[in-house]
């Protein structure tokens, strides 16, 4: 398979006057063309930061990539020049932001907003062609093209999110970063939007990184899953490995134990005790060890490496792998 995106040992920090926040700490990630990766984790796990660094839109001066590389179609994006970044942003890599209510410009019609990306990246198109393309995009996301002259406030939340999706897909990007695209929507509308994204993904063969905290959404549209905790991807594997496999990182188990399941009858959930560590003062060794039920001496001092369980299912935990006599479970 063709590697579209290769992230190696990425570190991102937010440097403020008071403290340094370690948001992403050594992420490795590969994504092939047309593949969908679900990135799951709690608030503050560094999911959004990872997406922002791929697009090179970290908050200026505060957010910095300190180490590592991001290869997109073989080209290095870390420290790339303005021209290359411009070419990629919104064109080859596009992003859907979490909140459809605030990510649209209230003063422009949706036609102008969808056309903007085309105006910038498809200079060869004439006005009529752009207008035609806008109509196609609207039809594709299920909005009647007659409504293109309307403003964002005239649309409902689900419709606005469709507009945002139309904008991001206007240039047929190779990679789509979707940051919690359905979190702000009601379940019945969420189902419609997810279904549509699934459809479009197949039609356009776009690779996608779907950032979410909802494991149900992941099960619905992803092929590959990465679980993030305190700026690290602690487990990655195929959908089956993560949702059905036996071997898991203790955090992944905790995450699944926290979800009230419609099909089971447990009277109490089994959540993970404690809280995510403060990213400005991360613990030594494995970052999950203060909350981990299976913690042993080694976890407190040594950062675990990835252990490959085969088929690309990798876990970052000392419980797996036999080096240094570390026992299984």
């Amino acid at each position: 398979m063709n590697e579209l995106l290769q992230i190696k040992n990425l570190h991102v920090v937010y440097q403020t006057d008071e403290e340094t926040v370690y948001a992403v700490n050594g992420v490795d990630l590969n994504l092939s063309e047309g593949e969908t990766l679900g990135l799951v984790g709690e608030t503050g796990a560094g999911k959004t930061t990872l997406a922002l660094s791929i697009l090179n839109i970290l908050p200026p001066k505060v957010g910095k990539i300190t180490e590592g590389s991001i290869l997109f179609e073989g080209e290095e994006l870390v420290g790339a020049n303005e021209k290359l970044i411009r070419e990629i942003q919104g064109n080859k890599i596009a992003m859907i932001f979490q909140d459809p209510m605030t990510s649209l410009n209230p003063l422009l019609t949706i036609e102008d907003q969808i056309g903007e990306a085309l105006l910038l990246h498809r200079k060869e198109l004439s006005k009529d062609e752009i207008s035609q393309r806008v109509e196609e995009m609207l039809k594709m996301v299920g909005i009647p093209p007659e409504r293109k002259k309307e403003y964002p406030h005239q649309f409902s939340g689900g419709m606005k999110q469709r507009v945002v999706i139309a904008i991001s897909l206007a240039c047929e990007p190779k990679l789509l970063l979707a940051d919690e695209p359905t979190t702000a929507l009601d379940v019945t509308i969420q189902a419609q939007v997810l279904h549509m994204m699934n459809q479009l993904k197949k039609e356009l063969k776009t690779a996608m990184i779907l950032i979410t905290h909802d494991l149900g959404v992941v099960a619905e549209i992803c092929e590959k899953v990465g679980i993030m905790y305190a700026g690290e991807i602690i487990e990655v594997g195929s959908l089956e490995d993560i949702f059905k496999g036996k071997d898991h990182h203790p955090y992944t188990k905790g995450l699944f134990g926290s979800i009230p399941d419609l099909n089971s009858d447990v009277s109490r959930l089994s959540p993970i005790d404690g809280l995510m560590p403060d990213p400005s003062a991360l613990p030594e060794g494995c970052k999950f060890h203060p909350r981990c039920p299976n913690c042993w001496e080694m976890c407190k001092t040594t950062v675990p490496e990835y252990v490959d369980l085969g088929n690309g299912h990798k876990i970052r935990c000392h419980l797996f792998g036999n080096q240094n006599g570390g026992g299984g479970i």
Binding site: V187, Q192, P271
Partner: protein, 320 residues
């Protein structure tokens, strides 16, 4: 099911309309239910269906337009201010957003103390502080946080403060308005467990408002499904999940993304369209425009809630 056990709350024909420029907004329209002491009634629905208005009207934070709210058999709608003040000690509210429902200028101890002082439950600083510490322990807040301010704490801990504040006056009945929807899953599970423990220990009665069906299944004894201000289905939790009757309830259940890989969503199960406006609704079934089984009589006739099986109510023409 309902009968011999003691009813704490009984709501009859509760209506709340808001006047808007475009007309009357029917936020809550003719809702009836009962809650048994020590049990939980879950209220589910999409945003804008009137769940929160229902919760607030029940506590008379918003005055109802019409209808009766019976608390242990007494209609509290007719109560004057003084009597209502006494009632409020028995009925409390936990808010949705732990970020905006706490005063940023008050410390944890001040926040929990306030209701105790307002209701003049305890006198003497020492006694009050003791009570505050007791409640902090109850909800699982470390005592060292007693002088902390809300901004220093994360969402889960803030929500615990909100719960401690609600408990401080030792209420019998608590309206939980989406208490976990702003929290991460692992924290959400901690707070849900806490609420259930408190119910067991203190025999609390909850009205639990949420848009998340898996949460409501987990915590409720009975569930009321709302659509555009009306109750479309009401049944015991197990009954509702094993045998949903109303087309809206069915669609709602199918729309939840499941972590079970064998249960993928199908397009045929999906609801078309969006919620219509609650302003001046047309007669007939409010769900008709999105309903796959819509028949001519659905848009013309008024639809009432009928008991199809004992304890299972549904408002739909399919079950005549």
């Amino acid at each position: 099911m309902i009968g011999s056990e003691e009813k704490l709350i009984e709501v009859r024909h509760l209506k709340k309309y808001f006047k808007t420029k475009k007309g009357m907004l029917h936020a809550v329209d003719n809702v009836n239910f009962e809650i048994i002491k020590g049990k939980t009634l879950g209220v589910v629905g999409e945003s804008g269906c009137g769940k929160s208005t229902l919760g607030r009207t029940l506590l008379r934070l918003i005055e109802p337009t019409e209808g009766e709210i019976l608390y242990e058999g007494n209609n509290i709608v007719s109560y004057g201010n003084r009597k209502m003040f006494e009632m409020r000690k028995k009925m409390q509210l936990i808010f949705q957003d732990p970020y905006s429902s706490l005063n940023p200028r008050m410390s944890v101890s001040e926040i929990i103390t306030e209701p105790i002082k307002v209701c003049k439950l305890l006198k003497g600083k020492k006694q009050i502080e003791e009570r505050v510490r007791e409640y902090m322990n109850t909800v699982g807040l470390a005592e060292r946080l007693i002088n902390a301010y809300p901004h220093e704490l994360d969402g889960g801990r803030r929500q615990r403060i909100g719960i401690a504040r609600a408990l401080a006056v030792e209420p019998e009945f608590i309206v939980c308005d989406e208490p976990v929807s702003a929290l991460d899953v692992s924290i959400q599970a901690q707070v849900l467990n806490l609420l259930m423990d408190l119910q067991e220990e203190r025999g609390l009665t909850y009205l639990f408002i949420t848009h998340d069906l898996s949460v409501v299944k987990h915590i409720s004894d009975e569930i009321l499904v709302m659509y555009l201000g009306e109750c479309v289905e009401k049944a015991e939790t197990d009954q509702l999940f094993s045998q949903p009757l109303h087309p809206y309830t069915k669609a709602l259940l199918k729309a939840i993304p499941s972590v079970d890989l064998s249960r993928k969503m199908l397009e045929s199960d999906m609801l078309k369209g969006e919620v219509t406006s609650p302003i001046n609704p047309k007669p007939g079934c409010r769900f008709a425009a999105r309903c796959p089984y819509c028949r001519p009589e659905c848009v013309s006739e008024q639809i009432t809630l009928k008991e199809v099986e004992p304890g299972h109510f549904v408002a739909c023409n399919l079950y005549e």
